[in-house]
Amino acid sequence: MSNTPTSDSLITTDVQTESTDRSAVSGATAVAARDLNVYYGDEQAIDDVSIEIPEKRVTALIGPSGCGKSTFLRCINRMNDMIDVCRVEGDVEFGGKNVYDDDVDPVALRRKIGMVFQKPNPFPKSIRDNVAYGLEIQGFDGDVDARVEESLKGAALWDEVKDQLDSSGLDLSGGQQQRLCIARAIAPDPEVILMDEPTSALDPVAASKIEDLIDDLAEEYTVIIVTHNMQQAARISDRTAVFLTGGRLVEYDDTTKIFEDPEEQRVEDYITGKFG
């Protein structure tokens, strides 16, 4: 690793241009946070974060471990509700509605906001049943098989599994399992897909397939992805939010701007690997 950053670009991101045919700025807001504070007991995990995340774009959340980026992601679909000591103050707006309002049912919310986890976690059921699960619990009354096929195609997995839909999802390789989880997440046709380090448990080849897929997903969905891998953020995202220690959102801008000319010295230091 002897190459020094060239004039503008802080890290070499030659693949980046590939994914930027979507204009990064325009478009409506899908998810917004206003003055969001999150505490685990006495410890503050998110410190006064306000952010507007655009619709049908890929937004990457990056930052060192423990900076609150995963916590922020889990505020959006209220997965933090299940942690007893977790307390949320402020607003998280989805479609103009604060998801923490009393009349919001987290179950209904999660049907609109899909999630893909760090470790592939297919159910110990057949491939078909995995994808159909979300449809089943949501009382989908259309053609389930057609939707399963569509979702598997959407997750770039159909050609590999179309002859073994009845075999267990666990018989697939790690990368295929993660694409199965993506198919499962998109089957109920959510508006937003949250991804919590979706490639960190995968080998580079499988990871690059997921990255290609994320790029395609942004055609139809708002994708918000937490990643530890800065090259990945640079390659696949349109917007990047940099969280630093203490749960503070330090800088949020177009990905090219963040990686080429960040405003904050701390962000530049983090991106170039001087700390973090």
């Binding site: 999630m115 619990i137 267990s168």
Partner: protein
Amino acid sequence: MTDSTESPDLQRRSGLRRLKEGTYGGLFAACAAATLLTTVAIFVTLLSDAVVFFQEIPIAEFLTGTNWSPNPAGGGQAFGIIPLLIGTLVVTITAAVIALPVGTLTAIYLSEYATPNARSILKPLLEILAGIPTVVYGYFALVYITPALKATLFPEMSTFNALSASIMVGIMTIPMVSSISEDAMSAVPDELRQAGYGLGATKFEVSTGIVVPASVSGIASSYILAVSRAIGETMIVVVAMGAQARMPAVREAAFGIPYINPADILLESGMTITVAMVQIAGGDLTGGTIPYDSMFALGLTLFVVTLVMNVLSDIIAERYREEY
């Protein structure tokens, strides 16, 4: 590196360590073998004595006879197992109807719904229930359950009856179902629950649609154990159900179809296979007599029934298995 030609010391040590390792291995194997040997020995003993019995009484007569009186005062012995089978089946089925659903739902509550505090209190309490001697359960059934049922639902119930005994056997086996099932459910990885919640599943949907299917083989083994325990249960039945080998009356329905009213069995005294064995073993019979040998034929029947059941449940569990 250095130019020393000395290789690292990889020499095998004296035989002592290998001897010790070998001794440990042998000790563990001996313990495992002892269990297996005991089972085989029991089976061989049952079989050999049962064979003696079947030389006197034909198997067909034993299996289809409807009269069980091994040691009547005035002569006229009969060794028909049917009344005993009916008694055993009724107790087992009624107990299972109580223990399996209650035990499973308890397990779901403990594993998925209970707060850590509630679980830390309830689980040991349930395990205490499993530690109560069964004779205590038996007297509880006789002294409390029967009078209570008599006073409320079934005034015509006899003092010794199958229903109270079955209810008590069911209650006794609940902890067996709930404890083993709960272990199986708690072992389901949390990632699977997260995946379900992430898709907008409710707690109930996650519990019944994800956790229970993923732990079905553990739940099935708890069922096998509980039912086998109910089949073999003796003390509760001796105390609360009495010891009368009875055949239920066959009634004629309006359209000429004969049927048996379950109340004729449940509300009356009866006898199970195990109780028949206790009666013979507790009598002053000695070896060599036919009634004495009949005990082994009964034991063999129990053994075969439990074995068949275990195999069947294994097959069922295998079919519905969802491995994670």
